[in-house]
Structure formats: C-alpha cells, structure tokens
C-alpha cells in the first residue's frame, strides 16, 4: 500500500512538473503583484488581469503582500517571477523606493516591468506606469465643490481627511489636487498641511477606513463645528466622516467629496451621503498591462506614456447626480456600471 502511494505521488509530481515545464516553454508568462489580496481595488485588478490573460493565452501568476506595506513578500514575488522565466511583471508596489533594486534585477533579466496604480520612486525605475492621475482626481472634486458652493466658496470651512502621517504620494496628490481645484494655494505641492489659507480648518489622518474617518472628522468638528466642506482620501473614510456629522445632526448641510469609485462608494453618492467622487479604473489598468506584456513578448516594444505625462493615464471620471457647470462628470448610473468592489 505504502509503495503504491509513493509510486502514485512520484508519478503525479512528474506529471505536474512536465505540464508546468510545457506551459513555461509554450506560452508567455506574466506576473501580477499587488499590495494585498483583500482590498477590493486589487481584487478587481486581479480579475481584469486574469480575464485578459486568458483571452490572450498568457500564463498569469498572481502574488500579493500579506498586508499593505508588506515589502518583503513583493521582493520574493519578483524573484520568483524571474526564476519562472516570465516575460513581464505588473506591480502595485507597497514601498515605491525600496522595490527599485528588485525591479532593476528583473529588467536586467529581460522582463518588462509595469507599475500599476502606484508610480515607483523614481517613476522611470519601471518601464512604464499605468495609473490614475491622482492629482486630476482631486482637482475634479475640488472644482465640483467650489462650483456647488458658488459665492459661498470664498468663506468655506474645509476639513481635509488625509491618508496617513507618512504622506504617501497618492494621498498627497489627491489632497493637493483638491485644493488646487478649489482655488487654494497649496504652497509646497509635495506636502499637505503647510497651507495657510484660513478656509482650511485642519488636516487629520484616517488610515483610509471608516473608524479613522469618523475619529478625524470628530476632532476637526471639535476645532470648528461649522465645517461645511469635507475632502476625504477615499470612500470608507467618507462613510466614517458622515457618521460623525450625523451624530451632531449636520449630515445634510455639509458637502463631502471623495475619490475611488468602489460600488459601496457610488451607492453612497446615489444616497446623497457623498456629493461627488472621482472614479478610478483598476480593471483597465490590469488588462492594459497584460496587453503590454503580450506586445513586449511578441516584438519587444514597450508601452508609451500618455502625451504630456510621465505615465500612461488610465482615466478618471467624476461621478455625481448634481453636475456642476464647467466640470465634466458622469451619472451615478454610469458610475455603477463601472464600479468595483
């Protein structure tokens, strides 16, 4: 019996190895490395990549960090991909600077490396970057909020609910974009919190979740209970901020704007919890990335950045049912069709 089992195991292993080797030699390999397996944004990214890979006959392997910020696992994933003989890597890096040597190693081994969603530092460390224009995403909601307020924008009281104290680039770009759109001088554009415009009541951090959003909103309301515009880094933070406003009965006279475009967030726009949100497109980032790897494997051409930008812009759209003059937007219905998570 034991011999039989051992024999079967060996046979199975051999078969698995053979088929694996066959797959490697006959089709193009690609890797997708995301920050986590659990964030709906990255779940959608994986879906998009998997669907496109199947369509193009690409052998896709996916990896993810255990938590956001898990740099080690991402480096291991890159090394695994190189060893596996893949043609290209799509990566949403957790640590944009520290990942660079590993990415360099992959590029030297002949792989094309495309950064998804999060630009590397420096941005040209990757062959290309497919991402949302986060500054534009912020600018759209800033312009919309200013247009909604009209003349009242001149003496608005604004709460800024940011991501984290470490000021990651995505958070800084959205924050500074919003202020620019609203018509506020941002001082140093690489940093939030240094603005001197009296309309800003204050900045606080949310970790991008409901609990942080509620706490930050409460603290800022304690500083100034008459806040009437709330910028939020993403929709969970916006949902938390709404709870804090509801607790003091001000949910109907405060304008909340956000960024992301997840399905619960779009639903919140429909319900009037959030006034407007900038929607990004993870599925598109991933499917375009797979196409780029296929092209690289076929004839060695690398993807080109969008004209006038140092990355390939995968687009962003303002979702609201209260369009403002001079700010392009799509309806909640259209946003729902394109939402993720």
């Amino acid at each position: 019996m034991k011999k039989f089992l051992a024999g079967t195991a060996i046979a199975l292993t051999a078969a698995a190895l053979a088929s694996g080797a066959q797959a490697a030699s006959h089709s193009v390999g690609a890797c997708l490395i995301t920050k986590t397996d659990t964030n709906p944004f990255f779940v959608k990214m994986k879906e998009g990549a998997t669907a496109k890979a199947e369509e193009l006959g690409i052998d896709l392997k996916t990896f993810a960090g255990k938590v956001d910020g898990d740099h080690e696992t991402q480096v291991q994933a890159i090394e695994t991909c190189i060893a596996d003989g893949a043609k290209g890597i799509l990566i949403a890096a957790s640590d944009t600077s520290s990942i660079v040597p590993a990415v360099q190693q992959a590029r030297e081994a002949g792989l094309v490396v495309i950064a998804l969603d999060t630009p590397l530092n420096p941005i040209d460390a990757a062959d290309a970057t497919f991402a949302t224009d986060n500054f534009l995403a912020g600018e759209l909601i800033g312009k919309w909020a200013a247009a909604q307020l009209g003349d009242a924008a001149a003496d608005a009281k604004i709460a800024m609910l940011d991501l984290a104290v470490s000021q990651p680039t995505v958070g800084v770009l959205r924050d500074q974009g919003f202020l620019t759109g609203f018509g506020i001088d941002v001082m140093d554009p690489n940093k939030w919190g240094d603005e001197e415009d009296p309309r800003i009541v204050g900045n606080d951090v949310t970790q991008g979740n409901e609990e942080g959003g509620r706490r930050a909103m409460e603290s800022l309301l304690a500083s100034d209970p008459m806040i009437n515009v709330v910028y939020t880094i993403n929709e969970p933070a916006a949902a938390g901020a709404y709870e804090a406003l509801k607790a003091i009965g001000r949910e109907n006279d405060v304008l909340i704007v956000s960024v992301d475009g997840g399905c619960p967030g779009i639903q919140n726009v429909a319900d009037g919890v959030i006034g407007a949100t900038s929607q990004q497109y993870p599925l598109k980032m991933a499917s375009l990335g797979i196409e780029a790897i296929a092209k690289w494997a076929e004839d060695g051409t690398k993807p080109e950045p969008t004209e006038g930008k140092d990355f390939f812009d995968t687009g962003v759209a303002l979702v609201t049912d209260k369009p403002a003059e001079g700010v392009e937007s799509i309806s909640v219905q259209e946003g729902t069709d394109l939402c993720w998570g």
């Binding site: 659990t38 104290v165 409901e210 304690a222 938390g240």
Partner: protein, 356 residues
C-alpha cells in the same frame, strides 16, 4: 508571618521605651515612601492622577473648547472600542498572558453579525447572538491551547490573530455592509451607537457599556473567588495549582470571557462606524496593550487594577483629542504615547521596590 513581625516590633518598643512605633516606622522612611506605599496598594492611582493632570493641562491650554461637556464626552466615545477591548486584554494580562488576537476577534464577530443577516437572512437578534458566540468560541480555542496544550499565550494568540484575520477576509470577501442598509434592515446592530444627550454632553450606549463593564469587572476581580483565582494564577501559576485552584478551568474561562468581550466590542464598533467593515480595528491589539500598560497593570501578571486600563485608554484619548485641538502634528501624539508607555513601566518598577 504577622505574628512574628509584631513580636519583633514589641521587642524593639520595649527596649526603647516607646509604646507603639508602627506608624512612626513608616514616617521615618520619608514622605516618598508613603506615596510609594499608597501607589502600591492602589495601582489605579497613578493613571488616574495622570488622567486628571492631562485633563487639567489641556483644559488650561484650550479653555472651553476642550473643557466642555461635549469634548469630554467625545473622548469617551472615541475610546469606547479600544476601552472595551482593553478590558478583555486586562483579564488575560492579569493571568501573565497576552492576547494578540483581540482586534481580529472583534472584527470577525462584527462581520459574522453582518453577514448572517445580510447573506443568510437571519433575524438581527439571532445574528448578534451568533456574533457573540463566535467571539466566545475563538476565546475558547485560545484558552484550550494555552491551558491544555500548554503553549505560550504569545504564540497561541499570534497564530490566532493571523488565522482569525484571514478567516475574516476570506469569509467577508472584504465587502463592506453600508451604514444605510444596516439602518434600514438591522438597526439592532447600531444599538451601541444610540446617543443620550444631556445638555452639551453626548453619551452613547457604547461608552456607557464600557464604563459599566469596567465597574463590573473590577467588582468581580476583587470580590469573587474567580477574580482572586485570576490574580493568583498571574502571580504564580504553580502555587495557585498547589493551593487547589483549578488553573486550567480558570484560564480557559478567562480567554472565553476575553473573546466574548471582544465580540461585544465588535457590536459596539458597528454602532460607532455605522457599517460592518472587515478592515477596521487592525491595530486594536496594540492599542489595547498600550491602554493596559499605561493603566498600570503589570505585563508580568498578577498585579494591577482593571480600572487602570480604563484610565489608560482615556489618557490616550485625552492626548489624541487635546493635541489635535492644539493643531499639533499627529506624530506628536504617537511620540507622547510612547513616552507614557515607558514612563508607566518605570513607575511600575519603582512601586515594586516598596515590597523589596
């Protein structure tokens, strides 16, 4: 013990001609010694003094912006989740253990409540009971592994932290259940978020629950046999066992109580943030340990007053809100809390010297 001691003192007093020198004996050691002694007998005194001082300082700096019924009750609301979890953590730390899985158990319990109603259509009341049972079960597994399999609590709960968190993400598919849907279909989930307004003060049921829970635990730990057993195990498990305490049973019950309290924290969490969000509470384990340590409960077990943890959580809340109102960078909060943690342990060590 006490007989020989008093005999010794009688002997000395008869020699010097003094009548009763017991009280004199302490005073001779100086006022500092009396303070040390008082702190030794009331471990919750240090955090209480720090709490009152910090409220006074921020009150002076900020005036009515901080020292108002609204702001002070806001602090209670902001610390309610960490506070409830810190109550669970205190129980485990009193047994010389540590529970790294508290936050994960809290989140999974809230997700179970949400999904059981929104995925399977169970009545909200039943779903809440399932959530509470889920938390207790997780605690039971922790307890069995610690008491029966004899694994160190750090390792057990480190593992359970990962297992429970992964289960949470897999089971929920990381989908948030929106506040508006809960309000419409299962308002019971938001029960702890209900507000009682008295003038400017705004208390939620969750904040009241936290305070009542601490008073209840303080009573149970001081006045019941079970409570004394918890302290005895934390002080010296072998001695406790030799003196006839069923240490395994008590340990398992402590972890189960911790799990149940965490599940209540999960329920309160839904009340606070409105929605059921699988990503919340990620740092609750560290935050609860912080509250317990600042609250003067010894990490080596068997010493400390559970009320200290409430004061510890409140101190963190006062610092967080106070510094935010002063307009300080959020990093200052972390820095000062770090200083507080180290200071708290230093004070603990200093107080210990009273018994040596």
């Amino acid at each position: 013990m006490s007989e020989t001691a008093s005999k010794g003192q009688d002997y000395e007093s008869s020699l010097s001609g003094a009548t009763s020198g017991v009280a004199e004996f302490e005073r001779r050691k100086g006022a500092l010694y009396s303070v040390q002694h008082a702190l030794h007998t009331n471990p919750a005194l240090v955090p209480l003094i720090v709490l009152v001082l910090s409220i006074v300082v921020f009150g002076l700096l900020l005036g009515s912006k901080f020292f108002s019924p609204f702001a002070l009750t806001l602090i209670l609301q902001q610390v309610q989740i960490v506070g409830i979890v810190a109550a669970a953590q205190s129980l485990v730390i009193l047994t010389a253990g540590i529970d790294l899985s508290v936050g994960a158990i809290m989140v999974l319990s809230s997700v179970v409540m949400g999904q059981f109603t929104f995925r399977y259509g169970l009545p909200p009341a039943v779903a809440v009971l399932c959530g509470l049972a889920c938390g207790t079960l997780m605690g039971f597994i922790n307890g069995i592994l610690v008491a029966k399999v004899k694994l160190p609590p750090f390792i057990v709960t480190l593992g359970m932290w990962q297992i429970v968190l992964a289960t949470n993400f897999l089971y929920s598919a990381n989908e948030t259940i929106r506040a508006q849907d809960i309000e419409a279909q299962a308002p019971l989930f938001q029960f702890f978020g209900t507000v009682i307004a008295i003038g400017g003060a705004r208390l939620t049921y969750g904040a009241i629950f936290m305070v009542v829970l601490f008073l209840f635990l303080a009573y149970v730990l001081k006045q019941t046999a079970w409570g004394r057993h918890v302290y005895a195990i934390g002080d010296d498990k072998e001695a406790a066992e030799l003196s006839g305490i069923e240490t395994d049973k008590v340990l398992i019950s402590v972890y189960m109580a911790s799990g149940l309290i965490c599940a209540f924290a999960g329920w309160a969490l839904v009340g606070r943030i409105g929605s059921v969000s699988p990503t919340s509470g990620q740092l609750a384990n560290i935050e609860s340990i912080t509250a317990v340590v600042i609250g003067g409960i010894s990490l080596f077990g068997g010493r400390g007053d559970v009320l200290g943890s409430l004061f510890g959580a409140l101190i963190v809340g006062v610092f967080t809100l106070g510094l935010r109102l002063l307009g300080a960078d959020a990093q200052w909060t972390y820095l000062l809390i770090g200083v507080l943690i180290i200071a708290a342990v230093a004070v603990d060590q200093w107080i210990r010297k009273v018994s040596t």
